[in-house]
Symmetry: none
Subunit: 241 residues, 2 copies
């Protein structure tokens, strides 16, 4: 039974020991794609020591210099985040719900789960790349998990969901989902049209782009749907000329 391809993305991790522990956690749960965005120290002996048998995951890890490079080709992006107040409520699911959702995606989908810095997590800009924020329910008075521990819990939930899927029947969706870069193209196109019609005022953008991005992130656009929306925008542009 095909299960989506899962990519664990660690953003600007400070401690190489955490990268090693994450590799071990991933391998324990049958995940093998580790992406490191600007790791502070990598490769490093401390990572190898904590990996403890999962050195292959470290060796084949992909080091990137930008988040967008790490997300290329992914149809669905989850961002691990403490449950916090944000100006705009982004769609939020707990780790189990995310894993259950992943299990319903078409088998050839590519999924990324982002984990932020040890001290400060992911920035708001980074969270905007995400379809959904993933949170791990914790003690409200002491909620900060070690990043490798968080990766352990999420990898475990994904493994449980995969095991669960082996019995269940899925395949509700034949049409492939749009990728993150295709979605980016749509958002830019939409912004251009809105600027041209005057709906988006660059001096007073309100939260328009963020809200639209959130809407289309959440919708899990299929490629065909995305192409229709792009087609509408192009027809509007041609029409005004």
């Amino acid at each position: 039974m095909p299960f989506p391809q899962i990519r664990i993305v660690m953003v600007e991790t400070s401690h190489p020991g955490n990268i090693g522990a994450a590799a071990r956690a991933m391998k324990n749960m049958q995940l093998d794609e580790l992406y490191l965005v600007n790791p502070v120290l990598f490769p490093h002996r401390e990572a190898i020591s904590r990996a403890s048998g999962a050195e292959d995951i470290l060796e084949q890890a992909t080091v990137c210099d930008s988040l967008s490079a790490a997300l290329e080709g992914c149809q669905r992006v989850y961002g691990a985040s403490a449950r916090a107040q944000r100006t705009i409520p982004w769609p939020q699911l707990n780790a189990r719900e995310c894993a259950e959702e992943v299990a319903t995606l078409p088998g050839e989908s590519k999924v990324a789960v982002l984990f932020g810095r040890e001290q400060s997590g992911l920035t708001n800009d980074e969270l905007e790349y995400c379809n959904t924020l993933l949170h791990i329910p914790t003690n409200p008075d002491y909620s900060s998990l070690n990043v490798a521990a968080a990766i352990q819990v999420v990898s475990y939930e994904l493994h449980m969901a995969r095991l669960g899927e082996q019995a269940a029947t899925v395949a509700q969706n034949d049409d492939p989902l749009a990728t993150a870069d295709e979605l980016e193209g749509l958002i830019e196109h939409l912004e251009r049209v809105m600027l041209n019609t005057g709906f988006l005022d660059p001096d007073n953008p309100r939260q328009l782009m963020r809200r639209l991005r959130r809407l289309y992130q959440r919708s899990r656009l299929e490629k065909t749907e995305l192409n229709i929306l792009r087609g509408i925008l192009t027809s509007v542009e041609k029409d005004r000329r």
Copy 2:
């Protein structure tokens, strides 16, 4: 809602860092009773450093010189164990099933979960103290979790069981959803604009309207989002005049 009192018992742990990481994992998941049976190095600065804010769990930890002392007063004992062939088949549940079972025990029950040595786990003699063996489903080719990672997963499952349905129902959205007639208004508006720009050909409508309707139905639009989309359409109409 009373939940049984949970005791995490670590048997002859070698690395103090693992004890610290276990304390942090426990506190994250609202557990606070740590029992250490003959720890090799404790107390130790490495434990404090990895506890990272959960030093209170270490300070109030109970150090015992025998397993039976650590289990005193417990009605139910689970032993974490890789899934192995044993001479006598002991009752075995996975971590989630154990947590669900704990949730069904009377609220005043005392429960212990045992975790063995880093290299060799629990001995057969130690497993005989257990009502049930607890296993964490893993990669069959690489099944040995770090002991603190195993405690993280089990503590997490116990926390999820405690939260019960609270965790499943996430209040994700404060903004009210658009009604069916508002959605209808959006679809009609979209159709009008598409006819005007020529994107929708009434003689060859393809499946355009059906696909767009399906997309926006699925997105569960909020009122604010719907108003933004209507605003964009209105600005396009004004602009072409």
